[in-house]
């Protein structure tokens, strides 16, 4: 039932708005709304019961194992939320002067510095509001850098074919064209293809390392040399930073610019789609171009740097300092981890991934890159299963829902057929991984004995498989009433 269907004319949550209806004062009649918007007319109990009920239809970290590759769905300590919701933080107006926000700014400045430290970059800006906006900022800085040197013929960004879709999309938003680089049989960038592609039009290469194939790019130093020698810059997509936290720094690998998905590696809960935060880090060359505002300090007062302080900046990405509440959560998370904790993140996320990979292999699943270590995630390919039984990766994914697990990422990266990208994260226990293996084994058996069962999954969820085609063909994007 929709909230609109609970609505009854005249019903209200009376305590939630002023007791009186003030006059419309000086607003001319012709500017006034003639019909009220069709918001639901319901009581507070209606609202609470409706959305509490809806929430129970979700799978989530707090209720389910969520091995969604590339998304790093790990447990977010509850203290992070509690700290970010302290009333002085939530109540502060963004345009309040810096001297009214020294506590907040101290936190975000320290966050900036910690991110610098773990990534090995020279400077960090917290402004981008998600990974993709970080990518935009990063590529825009690459462009600003080349442009500032008059090197304006560089109009091409190289992207491995395994890259996340945001990479090419971000490059295009910066006015670049995109050229894909092939991947070799072991999941590495094909060096020959890369060599063939670089040249005077190369603005840069965007790379995820460990890649979205779940493996560490062996030849990263060679790649670095090839790109830099061609005059391009090296962009690091930090979505998989979880795997190498405290182990190896993008800065040390030679990257010029990096974005970090705070909501992945630094564990802000994903909120059913966001908010996230996508801070960017750069080496000294690119520092003048960082997006605004930056947080300066701590000598004397913390303050936000603006256009006058940073005339070469690519500018602002949003009205304020990015997603402040997300930054606070990440700050608390990092402080509670400390240096040792960072390293443990990489160790245990890698341990869990390799264990799960081996166990699933043992259970009869085909690993896409069997000669490689898993990083914090790994890929199964169900190509053979599909051929044998007709059961596709999506069917297995849906059947997992019935067994009480969220599905892994399916059909990404696009270049591995019938793939499942599995990322257990460091916060899950061995018991949970073992239970997942058992469920996968069961599904394998079901696929062979009763493929129809798997192909028609899920059976136990609040709704059965939904008709995507109908949704796209007969667009129904808003309630039209009755």
């Amino acid at each position: 039932m929709l909230i609109f269907e609970r609505s009854r004319p005249g019903r209200r949550s009376a305590a939630q708005s002023p007791a009186a209806r003030a006059a419309t004062g000086e607003i001319p009649q012709r500017h006034l709304r003639t019909r009220p918007p069709r918001l639901p007319e319901v009581s507070e109990l209606d609202v609470v019961r409706h959305y509490t009920g809806l929430s129970q239809k979700n799978y989530s970290i707090d209720t389910h194992f969520y091995p969604l590759g590339s998304c790093t769905m790990k447990y977010n300590p509850r203290a992070c939320n509690a700290a970010a919701l302290l009333p002085q933080f939530t109540d502060r107006h963004p345009a309040a002067p810096d001297d009214t926000g020294q506590g907040f700014l101290a936190c975000v400045h320290e966050l900036q510095e910690m991110l610098r430290e773990v990534t090995g970059m020279a400077q960090v800006s917290l402004a981008p509001m998600a990974g993709a906006q970080g990518e935009f900022a990063g590529v825009a800085m690459i462009r600003a850098y080349h442009d500032s040197r008059g090197d304006t013929q560089r109009r091409e960004i190289l992207v491995p074919d395994a890259a996340h879709g945001t990479n090419p999309a971000s490059a295009v938003m910066c006015g670049y064209s995109v050229r894909e680089i092939a991947t070799d049989a072991d999941g590495n960038v094909e060096l020959a293809a890369l060599r063939a592609a670089v040249g005077p039009r190369t603005a840069g290469l965007m790379l995820t390392n460990p890649s979205t194939l779940g493996v560490f790019e062996h030849s990263i130093l060679e790649i670095e040399r090839i790109v830099h020698e061609a005059g391009g810059l090296l962009y690091y997509d930090g979505a998989n930073l979880n795997a190498i936290l405290g182990m190896v720094k993008p800065g040390d690998m030679g990257f010029d610019v990096i974005h970090i998905n705070l909501h992945k590696t630094f564990s802000t809960p994903h909120g059913g789609g966001g908010p996230g935060a996508g801070p960017v880090g750069v080496n000294a060359k690119l520092a003048p171009f960082l997006p605004l505002p930056l947080v300066a300090g701590p000598d004397g007062e913390y303050r936000l740097l603006a256009e006058a302080d940073r005339p070469l900046s690519i500018g602002r990405l949003g009205a304020h300092l990015g997603n402040g509440g997300v930054l606070l959560r990440a700050y608390v998370y990092m402080r509670m981890l400390g240096a040792d904790g960072m390293r443990r993140v990489a160790e245990f996320s890698t341990l869990n991934a390799n264990y799960l990979m081996v166990e699933l292999q043992r259970a009869g699943f085909e690993v896409a890159f069997p000669r490689r270590r898993a990083s914090h995630e790994f890929i199964l390919t169900l190509r053979r299963l599909k051929e044998e039984t007709g059961v596709a990766a999506m069917d297995v994914a849906k059947r997992l829902l019935d067994k009480g697990f969220h599905a892994p990422t399916a059909y990404f990266p696009l270049l591995v057929p019938e793939c499942l990208l599995i990322e257990p994260t460091e916060t899950e226990s061995k018991q949970t991984l073992d239970a997942f293996v058992i469920a996968m084994k069961e599904i394998l058996r079901e696929a062979r004995e009763n493929p129809a069962l798997v192909k028609s999954a899920p059976h136990e969820t609040p709704v059965r498989r939904l008709d995507d085609v109908k949704a796209a063909r007969e667009l129904n994007l808003a309630w039209s009433g009755r």
């Binding site: 609109f4 419309t24 507070e44 129970q56 907040f104 949003g318 081996v358 994007l477 309630w479």
Partner: protein, 451 residues
């Protein structure tokens, strides 16, 4: 677990990383804090920032947020879920988004909305890009100077690399809004869109019908920039002019999202049905399951980067989902009447504040145009020191317009939402009178408690 993998140490699992790259100590990081120590630190930091009587608006507005909003939105099932790619395991999030889209469509009187963008400013940029995609040739967009100056800068950052130009349209010095006549000079040229704020950055009501009609007559789209609280009271973009605005964007913060130093907020975007395939961001659609039961899915994904890659309508992926959940709860709790009451109370309070402050000798209202819940006032003294003096009294007195609008003199943008009591307004007027060295006249005194 190591035995199962066949290695003797965790260290071995990192053996594909070149030795020379391996990090030693993370020296720059402080040692781990217990939760107790972390919370104590954060409480101390928060207390340092204190609590203020706030009269700043300027794109972010202090409103009462019903206690139920975040008590529900913080439920683990909503808070710790990912983007609803697996629809069957995400009906809570998906239905909530569908309800949000429905509410927002009705609020804007447009056909369809997406499931959020980062914030209002970046949503404006996306609207500009969208308008350019919809237009067959133009790469220029008319951007009134009465649009929030930071939003204009953000839009510029986000569109200029694609060779799109934002042409500034001046505001009327008397009215504080965009003068439809002043658009004549742009007539006949090729613009993809005209941006129309309502209310505008100065809090002034714009002649939206004339502006919308001008845009359409010029072959441009009309992009509305609106405040969602105001939409409960003001005529919605879909009803502007003869044909209605084509796209509407704004910041959803006033709908249950705390000020929080500027984020996370969310940007909303609505448009006409026929433009939907050019709209960026996620969209939820209603459908049915194999048993015919209603259900909800992410739809029109072919516009998005994870499918279309370099040909996507935008690179946006993670959006501001949880904020939208909060906004949905907020709108449901207020309902049409409640939201209208909030809007009316904001308007009434701001009028009261304006009359209390302009009762102080030398304080005047800068623009003649009708206002919604903000006003530009001119002080008889420089604004920055006056604001500092107010701060010493615990008051955030508004936004100094000097940096962005030096032509307005000692101009100050103030806002009084429904959260302000008559005592609050009187307290502000009292202190400001003292600071500018003038006695308030009758109107201001009338607000004082007990008189």
């Amino acid at each position: 677990m190591l035995a199962a993998i066949g290695v003797d140490s965790i260290e071995r699992l990192f053996d594909e990383i070149p030795r020379e790259l391996r990090t030693g100590e993370l020296g720059g990081l402080p040692p781990a804090l217990s939760e107790m120590a972390a919370m104590r630190l954060m409480r101390e930091r928060a207390e340092r920032d204190g609590a203020w009587l706030n009269f700043i608006g300027a794109g972010a507005y202090e409103h009462h947020i019903p206690a139920a909003v975040w008590q529900i939105a913080s439920r683990g099932e909503l808070y710790s879920a990912y983007t609803p790619y697996q629809a069957e395991a995400s009906q809570g999030t998906l239905q909530t988004l569908y309800e949000y889209q429905s509410m927002m469509a009705s609020l804007t009187a447009l056909d369809v909305t997406n499931a959020s963008l980062y914030d209002g400013a970046s949503a404006l940029a996306e609207a500009v890009l969208m308008a350019v995609r919809c237009h067959n040739s133009a790469r220029r967009v008319l951007m009134p100077a009465s649009v929030h100056p930071v939003w204009r800068r953000v839009a510029r950052t986000l569109v200029r690399n694609q060779g799109i130009e934002l042409v500034e349209v001046p505001y009327s010095a008397e009215g504080g809004h965009t003068d439809p006549q002043s658009l004549e000079r742009y007539a006949g040229k090729d613009y993809a869109a005209l941006v129309i704020p309502q209310p505008n950055f100065f809090g002034v009501i714009e002649p939206v019908d004339e502006l919308t009609d001008w845009a359409h007559a010029s072959g441009a789209l009309a992009i509305a920039v609106v405040n969602p609280t105001a939409l409960a009271l003001l005529r919605p973009p879909g009803e502007w002019g003869g044909a209605g605005a084509d796209i509407a964007v704004g910041d959803g913060q006033p709908l249950g999202v705390p000020l929080a130093s500027g984020g996370p907020y969310f940007g909303f975007m609505a448009c006409r049905r026929d433009l939907v395939r050019q709209m960026p961001g996620r969209i939820v659609g209603a459908t049915v399951d194999t048993e015919g039961r209603p259900g909800y899915v992410l739809t029109l994904q072919a516009r998005e980067q994870h499918i279309r890659r370099s040909k996507a309508t935008s690179n946006i992926c993670t959006n501001q989902g949880l904020m939208v959940t909060a906004a949905t709860l907020h709108m449901a709790l207020l309902g049409p009447e409640g939201l209208a009451r909030v809007a009316r109370a904001c308007h009434a309070n701001t009028l009261k504040l304006v009359s209390a402050l302009t009762a102080i000798g030398g304080v005047t209202r800068v623009f003649g145009g009708a206002l919604f819940h903000e006003a530009v006032l001119r002080l008889p003294v420089p604004v920055a020191p006056a604001l500092r003096a107010l701060r010493a009294q615990g008051i955030l007195g508004g936004l100094d317009l000097k940096p962005d609008f030096p032509e307005l003199g000692h101009a100050l943008l103030v806002c009084a939402t429904e959260t302000k009591s008559d005592e609050d307004l009187a307290r502000y007027a009292d202190h400001l009178a003292r600071i500018v060295g003038k006695r308030p006249r009758a109107a201001a005194r009338a607000l004082k408690p007990g008189t």
